[in-house]
């Protein structure tokens, strides 16, 4: 139902700049991407309309299936593993153990380091010939390890995801801020009632910060869906496209001067992202753990 508001003119005036920016920087570019996805275009010659041929061609390619699958794995890994870890650490730090402030800083530091530097560091760690991981495993097991973590089908994707998942600092800080804003009186009352720490966390903390956690999951999954940087730097999508993502595939298509196909992938990326995020919000975001509508 539309609510009548005597200030509607002012509301429109104040919303106009944002609406103009949204149209300029999202609606128009997305419209352009969609239109160019229907074209044969090398970025140099004029566009040529070819209908949905780009879509048909890409849907036949196994690389697209692999990339969509990998993007979903990325989104789920970041959404559930990374946020799960961030939540656990935030809950622990909120109990103010010794050195909790130092630990909070330590967890957050990687967030201020360039993603490129971190990816290159991990690439060296995973190297088959001189990597630290093989050296440590050799030391522990007493056997010679020379596994090519980024060059084997079975380990390449988990290796990249693992190094990304463990950087929880950003989301941990957000969740921690939420947890620490909960009045201590809740916990004092719970303790008087004989609630254990586990019960306090699951029945007080988790429901109160659930909205924050779902927001963090949405952000993490959105990042997973558009993931590019670490994969590009560490494997370039290999071995044999096994770690490819939609963004990387789009980048490769641009390199091959198939800009129409690159736009097709861009359109698919937006659609997949929309489906995943809406599904997340429908399943986790609508109800709080206390059963109240959000």
């Amino acid at each position: 139902m539309l609510v009548k508001n005597k200030n509607w003119k002012w509301i429109i005036i104040f919303m106009l700049p944002l609406a103009a920016m949204y149209i300029t920087f999202f609606i128009y570019p997305f419209g352009f991407v969609f239109v160019s996805s229907l074209m044969k275009w090398n970025g140099i010659s004029p566009m040529e309309f070819i209908g949905f041929q780009n879509y048909a061609k890409l849907f036949r390619a196994t690389t697209l299936q692999i990339s969509v699958r990998n993007n979903v794995i990325w989104a789920l890994s970041l959404g559930f593993l990374q946020i799960g870890l961030a939540t656990i650490i935030a809950f622990i730090l909120a109990r103010r153990p010794r050195f909790w402030k130092s630990l909070r800083t330590v967890y957050f530091i990687p967030k201020v380091i360039s993603g490129v530097a971190i990816a290159m560091l991990w690439k060296a760690v995973y190297n088959a010939e001189y990597g630290a991981l093989n050296a440590v495993l050799s030391l522990i097991t007493g056997q010679e390890w020379s596994h090519n973590w980024l060059g084997e089908f079975a380990t390449a994707l988990p290796a990249i995801i693992a190094q990304e998942v463990m950087y929880i600092g950003y989301f941990m800080i957000i969740i921690l801020a939420g947890v620490m804003s909960i009045p201590t009186s809740y916990y004092e009352a719970a303790e008087i009632d004989g609630a254990s720490v586990w019960q306090q966390e699951t029945l007080i903390t988790l429901p109160v910060v659930w909205g924050i956690i779902v927001t963090a999951m949405t952000l993490a999954m959105a990042y997973g869906l558009r993931h590019f940087e670490a994969t590009f730097l560490m494997t370039g999508g290999g071995p044999g496209h096994s770690t490819s993502t939609l963004a990387l595939m789009m980048y490769d298509k641009i390199g091959a001067r198939k800009l129409g196909q690159a736009s097709t992938i861009g359109t698919i990326l937006v659609i997949v992202g929309f489906i995943v995020i809406v599904t997340l919000n429908q399943t986790l975001g609508r109800k709080s753990l206390t059963g109240e509508d959000q």
Binding site: W41, N127, T235, G240, A256
Partner: protein, 425 residues
């Protein structure tokens, strides 16, 4: 009415008075206006040509102070450079000066009015600085829209000392001998070859495959379609280079630093690259530099011998403009860049082989390894382009991924070639 007329006259006079200095200043400014040429440049940072190019640009700017100024925009990554240039061009912003790799896709840039056509300028004497056959190669439908600048010969590099320690006086001439040498090297704890499947085009292995194909398929190999059995025969040899410890484990997925790093550290005995790498090896691994010899790849069974891989590596181009002064400035700069003395400086500094003609004097201290490149080219029975120079980028991109699968045993040589064929559709 009278009031309105007076008001109008006052307004016009006021406007004229206010506009006068602006117009006059604008005229003065246009007379003195310095033409600024933007050059997104890959020859920066650690690149072997960086110092010489920076000096030449600085000297040009000094010589043309107040008239022309070339501003270098540093772009140290070759892979990203190509995409940046394409993104700029597709957005209608063609750089004033830029470089391109010469391959089948480069010819797309000839369509439309994107680039300056240098054909008239080259006909006016400038063209004498180039080998006419090379100018003809970059001339399409009578238009020469690029200036051929850097050429390459990419022979097989081998560490003669490591081979001698393994009991080989020279480089094997056939693959049967080569596999024997590989076993001997491995017995000495040396990995035989440097390879890579990563990067934009799996550069080192793509060059190896080009060498193999030259021997298997002869001088006209790239005229044959990918359905030709020669490609599978070549793939079988390439697969063996990745088998039995003939290359390092990190070759799969490895970028350009992997093969070069292993060769410089004497962990591998055989490498493949162009002359631009001379500066790097000379500065970073002097002992390896001293031990390095250049040769052709072994001959495949029943195949051609002493073939080499060579190609036009880089061309210079300039974005088309309606401004005659800017066009003239761009041509002036490119002519300066191709002056024999400047080309010689870049070549001597970096070891690169250049297209514009120049000659060394008796007093010039030409790098010994650079001389070996020239000899390798002269001794070749024939020279073919590398694969990336003859196939579209989509095939070249797929090469690394297909090689990953073949090297890891997920694809046979036949399937490897089928993947390339699929990418070529």
């Amino acid at each position: 009415m009278k009031k309105f007329t007076v008001f109008s006259i006052v307004l016009i006079v006021l406007f004229a008075v206010l506009a006068m200095p602006v117009v006059a200043g604008g005229q003065q400014e246009s007379e003195k206006k310095e033409v600024v040429l933007n050059w997104p440049c890959i020859w920066v940072g650690e690149d072997a040509k960086a110092d010489a190019v920076a000096d030449i640009v600085a000297e040009f700017n000094e010589k043309h102070a107040g008239e022309i100024k070339v501003e270098i925009e540093e772009m140290p990554s070759y892979d990203i450079y190509d995409k940046k240039i394409l993104a700029q061009i597709s957005g209608g912003q063609v750089p004033d000066i830029f470089t391109l790799k010469w391959n089948p896709d480069t010819k797309d840039f000839y369509s439309g009015d994107i680039l300056v056509d240098f054909s008239d300028d080259l006909a006016g004497g400038w063209g004498n600085r180039f080998d006419s056959s090379i100018v003809n190669e970059v001339t399409i439908d009578g238009q020469t829209k690029v200036v051929p600048y850097e050429m390459a010969i990419t022979p097989i590099w081998y560490n003669a000392e490591l081979f001698a320690e393994a009991g080989f006086d020279g480089f094997p001439e056939t693959y049967d001998e080569f596999w024997d040498a590989c076993e001997a090297l491995k017995a000495n704890d040396v990995t035989p070859t440097s390879q890579m499947t990563g990067g934009a085009n799996a550069w080192t292995s793509m060059l190896w495959y080009s060498h193999i194909m030259a021997s298997v398929g002869g001088p006209d190999i790239w005229d044959k379609p990918l359905s030709d059995p020669a490609y599978v025969e070549g793939a079988e040899i390439l697969k063996r280079l990745y088998s039995n410890g003939n290359t390092t484990k990190d070759a799969i997925g490895g970028g350009p630093a992997i093969p070069s790093g292993h060769y410089l550290a004497e962990r591998t005995a055989v490498f493949c690259n162009g002359p631009w790498f001379i500066g790097n090896i000379r500065d970073n691994a002097p002992e390896v530099y001293e031990s390095t010899e250049l040769t052709s790849a072994p001959a495949a069974a029943g195949g051609d011998e002493d073939a080499q891989v060579g190609f036009i590596q880089t061309v210079l181009a300039s974005g088309a403009t309606d401004d005659p002064a800017k066009r003239e400035a761009a041509v002036t700069f490119l002519q300066y860049m191709s002056e024999p003395e400047n080309v010689k400086r870049i070549s001597m500094d970096s070891g690169a082989l250049m297209v514009p003609k120049f000659s060394f004097s008796a007093s010039d201290e030409v790098d010994p390894l650079q001389k070996k490149f020239v000899e390798a080219q002269e001794n070749a029975s024939f020279v073919v382009s590398h694969m990336a120079g003859k196939f579209p980028a989509s095939v070249v991109q797929e090469f690394g991924a297909a090689l990953d699968q073949m090297a890891l045993g997920k694809a046979s040589p036949e399937e490897f070639v089928q993947m390339l064929e699929a990418a070529n559709e």
